[in-house]
C-alpha cells in the first residue's frame, strides 16, 4: 500500500511537533524515521496510525483518503515500543484478538482463527508457544508476538515504534536481521521509528531524518551517509572513533549561529 502525506501539521500548544510534513512512501518499502527525541518521528508515526489527532494536512493510503478515518477503519498494524501485549491473554489469544473482535459477518470461523494464529506464530518463529502468557516470554519473544498480532489483521501498513528500543544489544541485532527477512517475505509497507542511526541505515530501504518537527532529508542509507543534505544530517550520522551519536547524545551545535537556530527550532 502506497502512502502519501501532505502538509501534515501538529502542535502542542505553541510547540510545533510536525511542521507541514510532506512524505511519500512506496508500496512494499521499509522506511525508517530517524531523529533525536522530540524530533516528531513518533508523533508522525502515531498520526499515520490515527492515534494522534492532527491539526491539518492529509494522509492517503493508496486511493483512500485516510485523514478522517478512525483508528479501526485505517487497519494499520501498530507495534508499540513496550509491546502493549494483553497481559491476561495467552499468546494465541493475543495474536488472534484482531480477528476475534470483528463483527460476526466478517469474523472467520473459530477453527480458521486458530489456524491463522498458529500460522502467524510459525511465521514469527514461536511455534508451540501459543498457550504461554506474555510474562512468560523474553523481550524478543514478546516483540515477535506483538508483530504477529499486528500482522493478523492483514494491515494496510505496518508501523513500528522503536521496535528494538527495549531489547538488549545482542537480541536487537538478531531481531533486526530477522525483521528485514520477514519484511522481504511478506512485503508489507513498513515504517519504523528509531533514534539509532545504525539501525536505520542498516535496515531500511530509505531513511527519513527528522529534526524539530521537520524532515531534513529523505534518502537511501548510502546517500544519507555520502551526501547529507544539511549540517544536521551530517552531524547526526557522523561517526567518530569513540562511537556513534545517538538521540540521547546528539552532536553539539558547532557555531553560535547554529546553536541559536537550534534553540529556536526546538522551542
Amino acid at each position: 500500500m502506497q502512502i502519501s502525506i501532505r502538509q501534515l501539521s501538529k502542535s502542542y500548544g505553541s510547540v510545533a511537533a510536525l511542521n507541514a510534513i510532506d512524505l511519500d512512501i512506496a508500496s512494499g518499502e521499509l522506511l525508517a524515521l530517524l531523529g533525536p527525541s522530540g524530533s516528531g518521528k513518533t508523533t508522525l508515526l502515531r498520526a499515520i496510525a490515527g492515534l494522534e489527532p492532527i491539526d491539518g494536512g492529509r494522509i492517503r493510503f493508496g486511493d483512500i483518503d485516510a485523514t478522517e478515518l478512525s483508528v479501526q477503519e485505517r487497519r494499520v498494524g501498530f507495534v508499540f515500543q513496550h509491546y502493549a501485549l494483553f497481559k491476561h491473554m495467552s499468546v494465541l489469544d493475543n495474536i488472534t484478538f484482531g480477528l476475534r473482535v470483528r463483527k460476526r459477518k466478517y469474523r472467520p470461523a473459530r477453527e480458521e482463527i486458530r489456524r491463522r494464529g498458529e500460522e502467524l506464530l510459525k511465521l514469527v518463529q514461536l511455534g508451540g508457544l501459543e498457550a504461554r502468557y506474555p510474562n512468560q516470554l523474553s523481550g524478543g519473544q514478546r516483540q515477535r508476538v506483538a508483530l504477529a498480532r499486528a500482522l493478523a489483521i492483514e494491515p494496510r501498513v505496518l508501523l513500528l515504534d522503536e521496535p528494538f528500543g527495549a531489547l538488549d544489544a545482542k537480541v536487537r541485532k538478531e531481531l533486526r536481521v530477522w525483521l528485514r527477512q520477514l519484511h522481504d517475505e511478506t512485503g508489507y509497507t513498513t515504517v519504523f521509528v528509531t533514534h539509532d542511526q545504525e539501525e536505520a541505515l542498516e535496515l531500511a530501504d530509505r531513511v527519513v531524518v527528522m529534526n524539530a518537527g521537520s524532515i531534513e532529508q529523505v534518502d537511501t542509507p548510502e546517500a544519507i551517509l555520502r551526501r547529507p543534505a544539511t549540517r544536521f544530517v551530517a552531524e547526526f550520522v557522523e561517526r567518530d572513533a569513540a562511537g556513534q551519536y545517538t538521540a540521547a547524545h546528539p552532536p553539539p551545535p558547532r557555531t553560535v549561529h547554529e546553536r541559536v537556530a537550534r534553540a529556536v527550532r526546538v522551542g
Binding site: Q72, A84, K87, G98
Partner: protein
C-alpha cells in the same frame, strides 16, 4: 560457628535499633491492637452469646432486626453498584484524558474522606427536607427521600464514593493507555476494548475497591443516622438498629446485630488479605500512593 556468633554480638548493624527499643515498639503495637481491636471484638461476640445461642438467633429473627439487615443489604448493594460505575468512570476520565481542572477533580473525589458524615447527612436534609421548596414538591408528588430508603442510599453513596475511584486512579495511571490503543488499532470498538482489555487489567483493583466500599456502606452510621429518622422496621439500618436496641437496654439483641456487622467486616478483611496475597503485584500499584 562460635566465631560467627561472637561477630554478631560485636558488630551490631549500624541501622538496627537497640534490642530493648525493638521489643518495646513491637510490644506496644501488639498491646494497643489487643486493647483497641481484639478486646472489643471479643466483647461483641461474648455479649451477643451471653443469653445462649437460642437468644442470639431469636434476636436476629426479630422482625425489626430482619428488616434492618435487609435494608442494610439493599442499601449497600445499590450504593456499591452506583459507586462502582462512578468510580470506573471517574478513574477512566482522570487516568486516560488530559483536561483542565483534573487535580481539582481528584481533590473533590476525596472530599467525603474529610467531611464529617453528619454534615453530609445534613446536606441531604437541607436539599430534600419537607421545609424546602424541592422537598415540598417531592412530598406533594408522593416521592419520599428523607426518612426513606432513597435518602439512605443517597447518604451512603456520598460517604462511600471515593473508595472505588481512589483504588482505580493510580492503577489505571500506572498502566497507561497503550493496551487500549493496541486494541483499537486491531479493530476493536470502544466497548470491546473496555470489556476485553481495560476491565481484565483492573479487575483485582476494582474488586478491592468494591470490598472497601461495601464494608463502609454497610457500617455507615453518621450520615445515615441523620436522614433515616430511625423508624423501626422501616428506615433503620443495622448500625442504627444496634444503637436503638442498645438504648432500649436490649443488650443481647444489640450485640447480636453488632456481631453480624463485625462478621461482615471480618469476611471483608479475609477476602482483602486473600486478594493482597494472591494478586500482590497488581495491587502494589495501589500501595505506592
Amino acid at each position: 560457628m562460635s566465631a560467627v556468633a561472637v561477630g554478631h554480638r560485636r558488630f551490631r548493624s549500624a541501622t538496627a535499633e537497640p534490642r530493648a527499643v525493638r521489643w518495646l515498639l513491637i510490644g506496644f503495637t501488639c498491646a494497643f491492637l489487643v486493647v483497641f481491636l481484639l478486646l472489643p471484638l471479643v466483647v461483641v461476640f461474648v455479649q451477643a452469646f451471653a443469653g445462649g445461642i437460642k437468644a442470639y438467633f431469636a434476636a436476629l429473627a426479630d422482625p425489626d432486626s430482619l428488616s434492618a439487615i435487609w435494608l442494610t443489604l439493599k442499601t449497600a448493594a445499590i450504593a456499591v453498584l452506583l459507586n462502582t460505575l462512578f468510580g470506573v468512570a471517574a478513574a477512566w476520565a482522570v487516568a486516560k484524558f488530559e483536561f483542565r481542572g483534573k487535580d481539582f477533580l481528584v481533590t473533590l473525589i476525596d472530599l467525603p474522606f474529610s467531611v464529617s458524615p453528619v454534615i453530609s447527612g445534613m446536606v441531604f436534609i437541607l436539599i430534600f427536607g419537607a421545609q424546602t421548596w424541592l422537598g415540598g414538591w417531592l412530598i406533594d408528588h408522593d416521592i419520599r427521600i428523607i426518612f426513606a430508603q432513597t435518602g439512605l442510599v443517597l447518604a451512603t453513596v456520598f460517604v462511600t464514593f471515593p473508595f472505588v475511584a481512589r483504588e482505580l486512579i493510580p492503577l489505571m495511571q500506572a498502566q497507561g493507555s497503550d493496551e487500549e490503543y493496541a486494541a483499537l488499532s486491531l479493530g476493536a470498538g470502544g466497548w470491546q476494548t473496555f470489556w476485553h482489555v481495560t476491565l481484565p487489567n483492573i479487575r483485582w483493583g476494582l474488586l478491592y475497591g468494591i470490598l472497601l466500599c461495601n464494608a463502609r456502606a454497610m457500617g455507615e452510621f453518621g450520615a445515615v443516622s441523620v436522614v433515616s429518622g430511625k423508624i423501626r422496621g422501616a428506615s433503620n439500618t443495622m448500625p442504627l438498629h444496634v444503637e436503638v436496641l442498645y438504648q432500649d437496654n436490649k443488650m443481647v439483641a444489640a450485640f447480636a446485630v453488632a456481631s453480624l456487622l463485625a462478621l461482615l467486616a471480618l469476611i471483608t478483611l479475609g477476602v482483602k488479605t486473600f486478594l493482597e496475597w494472591r494478586h500482590g503485584d497488581e495491587l502494589a500499584a495501589l500501595r505506592g500512593r
